[in-house]
């Protein structure tokens, strides 16, 4: 143990050791999150639902997310229409704008954008709220009063998110398509009636259902991540802030990963 070697080690961590440690850390984190998710689902699907709590969360998660979901959708739809138009222009395919906008929004962007926005608004919000309860010993108090936090706190948030996300995504589909229509009709000289007829004729039930199924999964991911990070929040304002950040980042990445996996699955089974 020479001094030189220890100080060298402090400056440049051994990369192999670092990779090993990170891998183990990641795996153990995945394990804990999975265990947590299983416990939330067990609580959520055991019948003795706390309807008052669920309703409160539906309002908090669903209703108050409408503005942010609507605004994001209209801009995404508008930008999509513009890009498809310019791109299609190169080989004379401008007339496909309504179809591609409708398909892109319902199968991908409506759900993904809603999922991402709610990873910020809802997942971080849940993590901050649960984290604050954790560090002020309210979770301990719940346990001593014979209330299981999985039943009383986490399951209502999980159920509310799984129920409201599809509704929000449906709203986002409509507003997103409207965003594309606005740009096409008022900016790109499309005929309004033709645009709308093309959209309606082209879309199938499956396109919409695919987005809504994704939404349920995103809701589960967002609520689980928020509750998980909140419940292991460290004391203090920085601890709670960190829990909120981690849950937002984690939920966003998982939403995108889940989206890709589900898209693959749906394409493979042909819906």
């Amino acid at each position: 143990m020479s001094h030189a070697s220890t100080s060298k080690r402090r400056g440049f961590p051994n990369p192999i050791a670092w990779i090993g440690r990170s891998t183990i850390g990641l795996l153990s984190e995945v394990g804990k999150l999975t265990n947590f998710a299983v416990r939330i689902m067990a609580a959520a699907f055991s019948p003795s639902w706390n309807f008052a709590q669920i309703w409160k969360q539906v309002i908090a998660i669903g209703f108050y997310s409408l503005p942010v979901v609507g605004l994001s959708a209209v801009f995404i739809g508008a930008a999509l229409a513009l890009n498809v138009y310019t791109g299609g222009n190169r080989f004379g395919a401008e007339q496909f704008v309504p179809n591609i906008v409708a398909l892109g929004i319902t199968r991908e962007l409506g759900a993904t954008i809603t999922g991402l926005m709610l990873a910020g608004r809802v997942s971080a919000g849940i993590a901050a709220e649960i984290g604050a309860m954790k560090v002020t010993e309210q979770i301990d108090a719940l346990k001593t009063l014979s209330a299981n936090p999985f039943r009383y706190l986490y399951a209502p948030r999980f159920l509310a998110a799984c129920l409201t996300l599809p509704i929000l995504v449906f709203v986002s589909d409509i507003i997103g398509i409207m965003g594309g229509w606005l740009v096409s009709v008022f900016g790109l000289d499309f005929d309004s009636t033709t645009y709308l007829r093309n959209t309606v004729d082209f879309l199938t039930m499956e396109d919409i259902v695919v987005g809504l199924i994704k939404a349920v999964v995103f809701g589960a991911v967002i609520a689980t991540m928020g509750c998980y990070q909140g419940s292991k929040s460290k004391a203090g304002a920085t601890g709670v802030g960190r829990a909120a950040t981690l849950s937002m980042v984690g939920a966003a990445v998982l939403v995108l990963a889940a989206n890709y996996m589900m898209s693959t699955l749906f394409v493979n089974i042909g819906i």
């Binding site: 309860m133 002020t136 010993e137 309210q138 301990d140 108090a141 719940l142 346990k143 001593t144 009063l145 014979s146 209330a147 009383y152």
Partner: protein
């Protein structure tokens, strides 16, 4: 119910470490039925950690916890739930639910675990609030609208409403004026004398300790270093206890700086 004279709570060789910080090293403590035990100990000596281990909110690193003769150290299921239904806890920080009103906090166990109807539960909550010298007018306020001392009393009301067999009070009189503090002392005594509960009270307030305690124990460096009748606290013959109860800066206990 064969062993009615056995202690209601026993901690046996309990250790609790946080990484390299060995907070509890070897705690042995019996709490007798219907007795009032006061725990003394410096700030950061592990008093709150000891209560949390007893309640199963933290798992001890080593040792055993027995409630009513049953080992509950690692149990996560029915036994622990049955234990918690018989224990009241006043958290040092109050730990009131800030999304619920005062009466919903106080009546939380009645409303949730016991499924009592709301109007009956509210009546009970208001009765209990009176015992901690709070009027019915605070019942519909939220915890954030109360002063620190009032929050503490609401938390106290929540701990005693179901008349538990064992009650932990983590610094019940900290932050209260002397008159209210004494009313709280009387309330703790009432739990013991009229309702037959056992209480464990953590306090730095020597007046309160002398008034409520049958017995006093002192926690120092992770062990119970002295335990004796409350009447002996000023001539315990133990230098550590002497220094603590007289509040002297010099002595065997060195202030951590």
């Amino acid at each position: 119910m064969t062993e009615t004279t056995s202690p209601i709570l026993q901690l046996k060789n309990v250790e609790k470490h946080f990484g390299s910080n060995r907070v509890l090293r070897d705690v042995n403590l019996d709490v007798e039925r219907g007795s009032s035990l006061v725990i003394l100990g410096g700030s950061g000596s592990g008093k709150s950690v000891m209560l949390k281990c007893a309640l199963g909110l933290m798992t001890p690193t080593a040792g055993q916890i027995l409630f009513d003769g049953v080992d509950v150290t690692h149990d996560q299921g029915k036994t622990r739930e049955a234990m918690r239904a018989r224990i009241g806890m006043l958290f040092q920080s109050g730990a009131l639910f800030d999304s619920l009103t005062v009466w919903q906090n106080v009546a939380f166990r009645l409303l949730n675990a016991q499924k009592m109807n709301r109007s009956r539960a509210k009546e009970r909550a208001i009765e209990t609030l009176k015992k901690v010298r709070l009027g019915a007018s605070v019942a519909d306020l939220y915890p954030a609208e109360l002063s620190g001392g009032m929050q503490k009393r609401v938390a106290l009301a929540r701990a005693i409403i179901t008349e538990p067999d064992l009650i932990f009070f983590d610094e019940p009189t900290t932050g209260l004026d002397p008159i209210t503090a004494d009313a709280i002392n009387d309330l703790i005594l009432e739990q013991v004398n009229a309702l037959g509960a056992a209480t464990v009270t953590i306090t730095h307030d020597m007046a309160s300790a002398r008034k409520v305690a049958n017995e006093i124990a002192m926690l120092f460096e992770g062990e119970i270093i002295w335990r004796g009748p409350a009447s002996q606290i000023y001539d315990s013959g133990n230098d550590y206890v002497d220094q603590f109860v007289h509040g002297r800066a010099d002595g065997p206990i060195q202030p951590a700086i």
